[in-house]
Amino acid sequence: MPTRDANDALILRERLDVLWRAESRRVLATLIRLLGDFDLAEEALAAAFVTALETWPDTGEPAHPRAWLVSTGRHKALDLLRTRTRLDASLGRLVERLDRAGEPREFDEIEDDRLCLVFACCHPVLAREAQVALTLREVCGLTTEEIARALLCGAPTIAQRIVRAKARLREERVTYQVPSRAELPARLDAVLSVIYLVFNEGYLASSGPDLVRVDLSSEAIRLARVVVELCPEPEAEGLLALLLLHDARRASRSGSDGELVLIEDQDRGSWNRAQIAEGGQRVARAISSRRFGAYTLQAAIAAVHAEAPDAAATDWEEIVALYDLLLVAAPSPVVELNRAMAVAEHEGLERGLAIVENLLARGELANYHLAHAARADLCRRLGRRADARASYVRALELARGEPERRLLQRRMSELD
């Protein structure tokens, strides 16, 4: 029979796990501000949790655990620095400065601290893959091993990427602060790109066989919520809306056999209506700001799809108009292709096909399987079976994803 003490220790460990998940990112962010050093803040954070494990059985859990963790972490960091001063005298001045700064002020700055951490992890001195790994660990609180599984990498690769990213932030003397108004658009853009990449990583993986992968899509949505809450810029809200609207349809995106199901064939009853409603509201708010960009426009398109009671009732005129705006905000041949498919629904298959063929002739999309798949589908619906078959064959040569390939094969077999 476990002793009462052993049982209490187990309960405390579980409680500290919960606290770690709920508070450790905020505490870390504040410690970085107070100590001015990422590594020292991590050491202080770990020491604070170890101290909690050692002392709370006697003292009980403090009334404000987050404040206690910050204060304890800061003291632990000072102790550490004092010990190290014996090895490295140059640290003495740092200890003095930190000591003089005294106890941290009230904790109303904590939310700002978190935002500073997001901006630092997505700092432009870092490569995108380093930004992603660092953000997932330091802001989302995932473990190195979880990130490695989610990104299909080895843990040592991710660990090294994180170590190097931190070293780079240190070398470049990146400061932990919210960017100035002038810098904000570019810096926010990097943050939003990281969130979008994390979401897509999870979204695409959801059809894969690996069920142990962390749900990166949910992490991305959580992260987008933090950013919107702390930095309510229209494009941040637009991105959150886009993620909510895509995620709302996640369950219906693949059939029971893992096959890809296109939007017109999806079971709209399985869509997450609450998420669609929230996405729609957020898009409307971002649009009304008149300072929106590509994420908001993509979200607006997703909202039109999501709000149609059935595929036939989709407001294609609205979608074409939104694609016209998107082509101005973020011109790309892929956007042109998507617009062409909307034109096909709104103005007729021939009109859409003409744009697709023109795009293919321009060459930029010649090796993009979805461009060939688009032509194939339009030709099939127009009864041009030989043209359709040729394009399905080409699309199959280029497509990599297994679910996509199966869908293409099925469509091609329907020609016979």
């Binding site: 050491e43 770990a46 170890v50 010990t83 014996r86 660990r137 473990t143 843990a155």
Partner: protein, 120 residues
């Protein structure tokens, strides 16, 4: 999660140290060692003798040979087990180990291995 840290060193170079040199090295290690233990994440640590024997399967009775399984200049001279949240946390704690801070001229290095995932 638990991680095993294997501390490596060059046996020949270490055996050449004089008593005084060794005492000085030991003193330098102690500060790091103390700091590593103070993290509260240090579970166990041992130093190892150099001499060893290796057994290989051979029917009912294994073949016994003297010396290590892999013949290299650097050998495992110590091990530490730590508790860490993830691999980066283990790197942070293991960075306090003397073999990660001093002794580069003696071939010191530290290898971190996660404990507990079963080989399938």
């Amino acid at each position: 999660m638990k991680y095993l840290c294997l501390a490596y060193g060059d046996q020949k170079k270490m055996e050449k140290l004089t008593k005084e040199q060794f005492a000085e090295l030991f003193a330098r290690c102690q500060a790091f060692d103390a700091e590593m233990r103070a993290t509260g994440q240090y579970l166990q640590g041992e130093s190892l003798e150099w001499d060893c024997v290796t057994l290989r399967p051979n029917g009912a009775k294994p073949i016994v040979s003297d010396g290590p399984f892999v013949e290299t200049k650097e050998k495992v001279g110590g091990l530490v087990v730590i508790e860490a949240r993830d691999l980066n946390d283990a790197i942070r704690v293991a960075s306090l180990h003397p073999a990660a801070r001093v002794g580069a001229e003696l071939g010191w290095a530290i290898e971190i291995r996660p404990i507990g995932t079963c080989h399938q």
